[in-house]
C-alpha cells in the first residue's frame, strides 16, 4: 500500500513536469517528489524504481543524457542532510530546498547536455542563467505544494507524514 502510494505520487509528479514542460514552464516536479520521498523514507533502495521512472521521463522528453537518474543520487544525499539538519515542520521553509533543486536541475542539464554536443550546444549561458532562476522559483513553489499534497493524502491513508518525520525520529531536528 505504502509503496504503491509512493510510486503513484512520483508518477503524478512526472506527469505534472511533462504537462508544465509542454506549456514551456520548467518545473522540477519529479525531483521535488523524489526529495519528499527520500526525506520521509530515508530508504536508498527507493533509488531503483524512482531511477527507472526518472529515466522514462528523460526519454519521453527526448533528453540526450541520464539527467534524472544521476540527479537522484544527489537528491537522495541532499534529502538525508535536510532530514537531519533542516526543518521539515514548517511548510513554507520547504521553498528553500525546492529553490536549490530547481537551480541544480537546470545547471546539471546544461553541463550534461553541453559537454558532449559542442559545437552547436543547446544551452547558451544566458539561457541557462534565466532558466535556472525560473526553475528555482518553480521549485520553491513545487516542493511545498508536493509536501502539502503528500501529507494530505498520507493523513487519510495512515502513512508517515513529511512534517512529522523528525518527531518520529525522536527530535532529530537541530541535532
Amino acid at each position: 500500500m505504502q509503496s504503491a502510494w509512493w510510486m503513484a505520487f512520483a508518477f503524478l509528479a512526472a506527469l505534472v513536469e511533462t504537462g508544465m514542460g509542454n506549456a514551456g514552464i520548467p518545473v522540477p516536479a519529479f525531483l521535488a517528489a523524489a526529495f519528499c520521498l527520500f526525506v520521509i523514507t530515508a530508504n536508498r533502495f527507493l533509488l531503483l524504481p524512482l531511477g527507472l521512472l526518472g529515466l522514462t521521463l528523460d526519454i519521453v522528453l527526448c533528453r540526450g543524457s541520464l539527467l534524472t537518474p544521476l540527479l537522484l543520487l544527489a537528491v537522495a544525499a541532499f534529502a538525508a542532510r535536510w532530514r537531519r539538519h533542516g526543518d521539515c515542520r514548517l511548510r513554507v521553509l520547504q521553498a528553500l530546498p525546492g529553490f536549490v533543486l530547481g537551480l541544480g536541475w537546470v545547471w546539471a542539464a546544461a553541463l550534461m547536455e553541453n559537454l558532449p554536443r559542442q559545437p552547436g550546444a543547446p544551452f547558451p549561458l544566458a539561457h541557462v542563467v534565466g532558466q535556472s532562476l525560473a526553475a528555482g522559483v518553480a521549485g520553491a513553489v513545487a516542493l511545498p505544494v508536493a509536501v502539502a499534497f503528500y501529507d494530505a493524502a498520507a493523513g487519510r491513508l495512515g502513512l508517515p507524514s513529511y512534517r512529522r518525520v523528525q518527531q518520529s525520529e525522536g527530535g532529530a531536528h537541530g541535532a
Binding site: A14, L15, T18, G19, M20, G21, N22, G24, I25, P26, V27, R44, F45, L47, L48, G51, L52, L55, T56, L57, D58, I59, V60, L61, C62, R63, G64, L66, P69, L70, L73, W105, V106, A109, A110, E113, R117, P119, G120, A121, P122, F123, P124, H127, Q131, A135
Partner: protein, 264 residues
C-alpha cells in the same frame, strides 16, 4: 559497499535502457496514453476557456487550412523536384522509380522545457507510417527530422539540434551542406560542410537537397542569414565553409506537425 554496488548496477541498467533504441522507444511508449490524455485535456481546456462559441470552430478551421497549406507546399516541392529529376533522367532510357511520399499529421505530445526548441516527441510512430529519418514540417517549412521511432511515438530533433544532420541545398548556387546545430543567436541554426569556393548571399532560400532516400528534395527550410557585419559565410578550412540559417518554421508555439514519410 552494498549501496555503491547497487548504484553502479542502477546506472548500468539506466545506461543500457537509454542507449538501446528499441528499449528507449518502449519506455517512451509507457507514458504515451497519459500524454495523449493530457493533450486532450489541454485542448478541452483551450476550448472551454474561449468566451466566444465560434472561436474553437474558427481555430479548427484555421488548423485545417494550415495543414492544407503544408500539404500543398509539399506537393509543390515534389513537383519542382519531379521536373528537375525529369530533366536529368531524359538523358537515360531506363527511368527510376518515382518516390511516393505520405503526409502524416501528428500531435506534439512532449517537449522538454530545458531545451525547448531542441527536440520534441510526437504522438505517431511506426504503426502510423512514421519512418526513421523522415522530415517533419510545421508552418510550411522543415522543423526537423525523426531521430528515433517507436510503435506509437517518435522523437524529432529540430534544425537547432546537431542530431538533425539534414542535407540542404542553397538555391542561388546549388551548394550542398549539412544543417544542424545552434548558433550564439538563438533564432539561427548552422549549415556546415558547404563548398568554400561558392558565393553566398543573405536572403537566399535553402531547401532540402533530395540526396537522402527518406526526405524529398525541394522542401523549404529557411534563408541564409548574415554571419557578421561583412560576410555571410565563414571559411572553416581549405575545403569547407559554414553559414547561418534563419529557419522558416516557427521554433515554438505549434501543437501539430506534418511528417513526410516514404510510402506506402
Amino acid at each position: 559497499m552494498a549501496v555503491g554496488l547497487f548504484v553502479a548496477v542502477l546506472m548500468a541498467l539506466a545506461l543500457i535502457l537509454h542507449v538501446v533504441p528499441p528499449l528507449r522507444s518502449g519506455f517512451a511508449g509507457v507514458m504515451q496514453p497519459f500524454l495523449r490524455g493530457m493533450q486532450a485535456m489541454h485542448g478541452t481546456w483551450l476550448a472551454a476557456s474561449s468566451r466566444l462559441p465560434a472561436t474553437e470552430g474558427q481555430r479548427a478551421r484555421l488548423r485545417r487550412l494550415e495543414q492544407e497549406v503544408d500539404r500543398l507546399r509539399v506537393q509543390a516541392a515534389q513537383g519542382r523536384q519531379a521536373v528537375e529529376e525529369l530533366r536529368e533522367l531524359q538523358q537515360f532510357l531506363d527511368l527510376g522509380e518515382t518516390a511516393d511520399w505520405r503526409l502524416i499529421v501528428a500531435p506534439v505530445i512532449a517537449r522538454d522545457p530545458l531545451s525547448w526548441s531542441h527536440a520534441f516527441r510526437i504522438g505517431k510512430g511506426l504503426g502510423q507510417g512514421v519512418r526513421l529519418g523522415a522530415a517533419v514540417m510545421t508552418g510550411g517549412a522543415v522543423i526537423g527530422r525523426v531521430t528515433s521511432v517507436g510503435a506509437g511515438t517518435a522523437e524529432v530533433a529540430t534544425v537547432f539540434s546537431p542530431d538533425t544532420a539534414l542535407s540542404v541545398q542553397v538555391q542561388g548556387n546549388d551548394a550542398i551542406g549539412v544543417l544542424g546545430g545552434r548558433t550564439d543567436d538563438p533564432g539561427l541554426c548552422l549549415v556546415s560542410y558547404l563548398p568554400r569556393d561558392k558565393t553566398y548571399e543573405a536572403g537566399e532560400a535553402v531547401r532540402t537537397s533530395g540526396l537522402s532516400d527518406v526526405i524529398p528534395g525541394g522542401l523549404p527550410v529557411g534563408v541564409v542569414a548574415v554571419w557578421d557585419e561583412d560576410r555571410t559565410a565563414r571559411v572553416v578550412d581549405a575545403t569547407y565553409a559554414q553559414l547561418h540559417l534563419r529557419p522558416d518554421a516557427p521554433a515554438e508555439g505549434f501543437r501539430y506537425v506534418l511528417v513526410v514519410s516514404r510510402g506506402p
